[in-house]
Amino acid sequence: MGWEVIEGGLHTTVQDLGRKGLRRYGVPRGGAADTLSFQRANFMVGNSPTDAALECTAWGPTLRALTAQLVAVDGASPSLYLDGQDMTGIKSFFVSRGQVLRIGAITGGFRSYLAVAGGFCVPPVLGSRSTYLGAGFGGYRGRRLRAGDCLKVGSARRRRPRPIPLAHPIEGDGLRVIRGPQCEGLTAAGLSSLFEQSFTVTNESDRMGCRLQGQPLEHTQGADIVSDGVPEGSLQVPGDGQPIIILADGQPTGGYTKPVVIITADLPRAAQLAPGAAVSFGEVSLAEAHQALGRLRHHLRCCQDQPEGSGRFYAVHCQHRTYQVYVEEVQVPPACGRHSPDYGE
């Protein structure tokens, strides 16, 4: 059961939902940067939300299936080729033994998630299968994938994709933030500048932080604070006045001013900011943040509760080409709104 890595891609790691309760030891949550797309991909292949999947960044890997597998891709859209055949835009499909899946350039975001039925099997470290590159543990040998690696996959009975709502529950354009814990660390002009301008994501962005470039934000009394706890989503503003969004592998403590923190419901979008992207911030109340989180969790429950697909995959030969066709009858559950399987071709 598994996959052979032919090319690792730019930055491909095994991730799950991360670690809990270890920040006091200096260990961040880790896990998928965009937990929404990660879980959606898992649900499509019938996995639990805690099964491990691949996080592919900017340019994905090329993999050979050692056994037949049901796969799903969610998050930013990559170019997808199965034995050279263009599968771009297709969310979930079947890969036969020996076929080569090539995940190419990722567009419309920064990170794509590849889930396989049964989940990727790596030994859990500190309660999680996620790769923590900062300390070189977890995931596949504590590092990115590269050519020659062999990934094992857990056993799965599922052979049919579970249809899930196509659209992500995206709300608004900018990222919503809560004031604090150090909004007084910026001057009034600095704080209004934070909300009025559009920042650009720089090339120096990784799983620890997404670095932004814009009009520098003015500090009241310098950027340094007495080091304290740093939650995921914090906007950290060091001495040069250019904010850094703290992501999944961000340090659990730090010494720079944090004027605002991005709400949990918008963290998946923050994780999809690719270098060159524009981003702005808007303030919301705690109550609005919690309502948005409730809607996000409802969306995920809907994805998880979808019944397993009842259709079948067919191989159709037509004009010297072979197409994979998935056919099923679909019922739209009223609670979850529109849903249409997009298994294309």
């Binding site: 809990k20 814990p181 007495v226 080091s227 706890g229 923190v261 991005i262």
Partner: protein
């Protein structure tokens, strides 16, 4: 005491404004109390110099309710006594490439730097920045030296270093801008162990110079 939101799933309980032992004793007292007396919805606690970061699950509690519960807590404040961990250090040489520079900056002999560094019982104010990285308080002011102008991209695990008014140990290999004066073989972080960090907030560290290092 005051509480401030830190996003929609955490709040900061601020227990003082300065870095001192009395404030940190208070932080440790609240930390211990909240571990023994669980408040509904509290998921994780991170003790720091002068505050406690309290992570909560918003479907089980909310900011205002939790903030009020924290304000009403009756916490016995007492002098915190943690474990003392002895850290054997090989000072200078290849293990401590910046020892001579630190000595020159402090206008001391390298042996005096070692002696001054190994003398105090350092308190671990918090662990963070990197896995197992202890923020230590109690460095002799004569050893305050500025950070490197150009941080090193790779510092070996176990490096003992001084940066500004702080001293610490890099538990894992990584980049860093502090001046390295020695190295310990003691593993400060091991992901296969529970807990993974060798020292925790509230513990004490004493550096023990290894003979024949220089």
């Amino acid at each position: 005491m005051r509480t401030v939101p830190a996003g929609d799933r955490a709040l900061v309980l601020e227990l003082g404004t300065h870095v001192d032992v009395a404030t940190h004793d208070k932080v440790m007292a609240y930390y211990a109390h909240l571990q023994d007396h669980h408040l509904p919805g509290v998921e994780e606690l991170v003790p720091t110099y002068r505050s406690l970061l309290v992570y909560y699950e918003p479907s089980e509690t909310d900011y205002h309710q939790l903030a009020e519960q924290l304000r009403e807590l009756v916490v016995q404040e007492k002098k915190h006594t943690g474990n003392t961990v002895e850290v054997p250090v090989k000072y200078g040489g290849a293990e401590g490439p910046d020892l001579e520079d630190v000595a020159a900056y402090a206008q001391l002999a390298p042996d005096d730097v070692i002696q001054l560094h190994a003398l105090p019982l350092y308190r671990v104010y918090m662990v963070g920045f990197a896995p197992g990285f202890p923020y230590l308080g109690g460095l002799d002011p004569r050893l305050f030296v500025p950070r490197l102008r150009r941080p090193r991209t790779v510092i070996p695990a176990g490096s003992v270093a001084i940066g500004g008014e702080q001293t610490g140990i890099y538990p894992i290999q990584g980049p860093g801008g502090w001046r390295i004066i020695g190295r310990t073989e003691l593993a400060l972080f091991d992901p296969e162990r529970v807990p993974p960090a060798r020292v925790q907030a509230g513990d004490n560290i004493r550096f023990v110079p290894l003979g024949g290092a220089r």
